[in-house]
Symmetry: C2
Subunit: 387 residues, 2 copies
């Protein structure tokens, strides 16, 4: 029986993780749940899974939840510090870190410091502070398991492989809903059109990141730290069908790939059960139902954020943290209709050009860069949206 905490239990990954718990009641016990502010759903989850602790980062939402859960035996914590406490619950063996955005960083680090196995879906943690996170995990012999499909694919492919025999890893990108759109049309694209991801059903922020390929840029940075690979060994290929989740190419040019219909439950379950695999009770079509699979190189002109992400990875230090925050703020501004789609990458470029990166010694270096980038990006957004 594994005792688990789910951070971000009301989000897409969190709900899927709870579905897996539901399928394997003998193998998992939920001891903690945390979310941002969705007290109504968290209440239902608490009543179904009876964790000892539930927390909401939003303090007023937490107060409502506390009232509703009176007498249930579940302790309710509020505020970011409550989420951090949930991440480091002494009873937990494994923490599923699935908070969206940079709010996931401190709880994830807390789980590592508390020696929990971490199933990490919060990519911002690795993008902002991959170097630090993996250093801390390594020194504690804590496993950090990727949850998103591409890194789960690479993790499955690279296990027990000799690193000197790896030529490169190749992340697949669907190309998003705007793959075949002209730059002219992208200028006036609506929020709804940019959110219409062709193959994966995901939250709004990551859907926009897929349309800009920023998501793939982040995944290059993640691959750097998850697999300790130099930037030069990390490539991206456009694969609109999202069936191949990533490739590994060996020095002899042999390629191996991990594949399957796009279904997040599989990589989530993999990270929950690792180092075992369980037979999953989900109905999935056979591979003979795959669509025709195609692969093409990404055009740098269509996806400037992919180039920007590679540059930030090359620069290193606190630069990826600035990239992450600039993107998070710019995407939010786009979703709030304050800026246009093509403003996203222009604003990010402006923020990065204005920044002088420093090495990451402690998490404060990351948080400082994050804060600087938040302020700077907001100023850039205001300049653009005032036009």
């Amino acid at each position: 029986m594994q005792k688990i905490v789910i951070l971000g239990s009301t989000g897409s990954i969190g709900k899927n993780a709870l579905n897996i718990v539901r399928c394997f009641p003998d193998q998992f016990q939920v001891v903690g749940l945390a979310a941002q502010s969705n007290y109504a759903l968290l209440e239902r989850q608490v009543k179904a899974f009876r964790p000892s602790v539930a927390s909401l980062a939003d303090k007023s939402a937490a107060a409502i939840l506390a009232k509703r859960l009176q007498g249930t035996g579940t302790e309710v914590l509020g505020g970011p510090e409550g989420v951090i406490e949930t991440a480091s619950l002494p009873a937990a063996d494994r923490v599923i870190s699935a908070i969206v955005g940079s709010a996931g960083l401190l709880p994830t680090l807390a789980a590592i410091y508390a020696n929990k196995t971490v199933a990490l879906a919060n990519k911002e943690t690795i993008v902002m502070a991959g170097e630090l996170v993996m250093r801390e995990a390594k020194s504690r012999n804590v496993a950090v398991l990727p949850v998103d499909s591409e890194h789960s694919a690479l993790f499955q492919l690279l296990e027990n492989r000799k690193s000197h025999e790896i030529k490169r890893v190749i992340l697949t990108a669907s190309g998003g809903p705007l793959l075949r759109l002209s730059e002219q049309k992208k200028k006036t694209i609506s929020q709804k059109e940019a959110l219409a991801h062709p193959t994966w059903k995901m939250g709004p922020k990551i859907s926009i990141d897929s349309a800009t390929l920023m998501n793939k840029g982040f995944e290059m940075i993640e691959a750097r730290w998850f697999f300790d690979l130099p930037e030069s060994q990390i490539d991206v290929v456009i694969h609109p069908q999202s069936i191949v989740h990533s490739f590994v190419e060996f020095v002899d040019r042999s390629l191996i790939a991990q594949m399957g219909f796009p279904d997040m439950r599989i990589p989530i379950a993999y990270a929950m059960f690792h180092p075992h695999r369980e037979s999953l009770p989900f109905k999935l079509p056979d591979l003979t139902a795959f669509p025709s699979l195609t692969f093409e190189p990404p055009k740098p002109k269509s996806f400037p954020l992919l180039t920007i992400a590679r540059e930030a990875l090359q620069t290193g230090g606190t630069m990826p943290a600035v990239l992450n925050r600039a993107n998070e703020s710019a995407v939010a501004a786009f979703l709030e209709k304050r800026i246009g789609f093509l403003d996203i990458h222009k604003i990010i470029r402006k923020v990065l050009d204005a920044y002088s990166p420093s090495p990451i010694n402690t998490v404060d270096d990351v948080l400082l860069a994050d804060r600087w980038a938040g302020l700077k990006t907001e100023r850039c957004i205001q300049t653009v949206s005032r036009k």
Copy 2:
């Protein structure tokens, strides 16, 4: 420096293996070469690679070769026993077994008995006597490494995997040149049309086996023994582009695949260098040049030999050896224009129906079955061709 023997050095696999030796002169020394009867090419190979022994199964060809190689320091052996002696040369570390057809069985067994690592391209050896060959190899702790692309793929994918986590392996089949042809048209297909394999350049016998999918039937039998998998865990999918060389499906429905442009040099090199991988100096296109990849289930009506092969595998014992010989004789008769294309599977079915299989205790059980099947098939061929 690895000392190698190549059995079947004048064939397609043998020539490619010598090309790899040519690329890595510091890593391989050829100590023995063997072929069927092509003394002219073997003479050139001997002069280029200077092995201590060269042999030809055809005695009169060996006599010519011996004359031509007088004074070169290379000893020439003739007859099947000469080939067997070459396979067990004391100086050799690794034997590449690439003789076509059932003639490969005894030399391969000789190499195993002499404790050589065997890179096995001769599929008839495993089809006829896989149970025996792998038993003998295991008891001597001798590695038998697959050379053909599908099993090399599975070998690469299955290394270090837990067998209870494997749901099934899926061999890919191009479907051959007759994939879209009606049964009516197959009746009168010419030798040339049946030989026109769409993706792999191979010898005539294996090209016909690809057109009938007998080759894939054999590969199911090989997978049974190479990877110690039950028949129920071995499937076949039609993949006309031959880019995915095989799949492994895990119990959690995660699929992994080995891929690449069809180029036999890669699996040959893999089996020659194993357990290492070497950076190969061959120019190969990037994966973005892959054609669209498609997968479909094989239609049993179009490929009766696939069903027959599965039945032979289920029956076990000496039945696969009979299948192998019946096919070898029937394909030869087709290539000699004695029978039509659709007679191949009808004759094989007749031969198998007439046979009572027995367990394999020694190689003699296999050879007896082989001999019986040869005679029986010839009688069936005569009946058909007299019509």
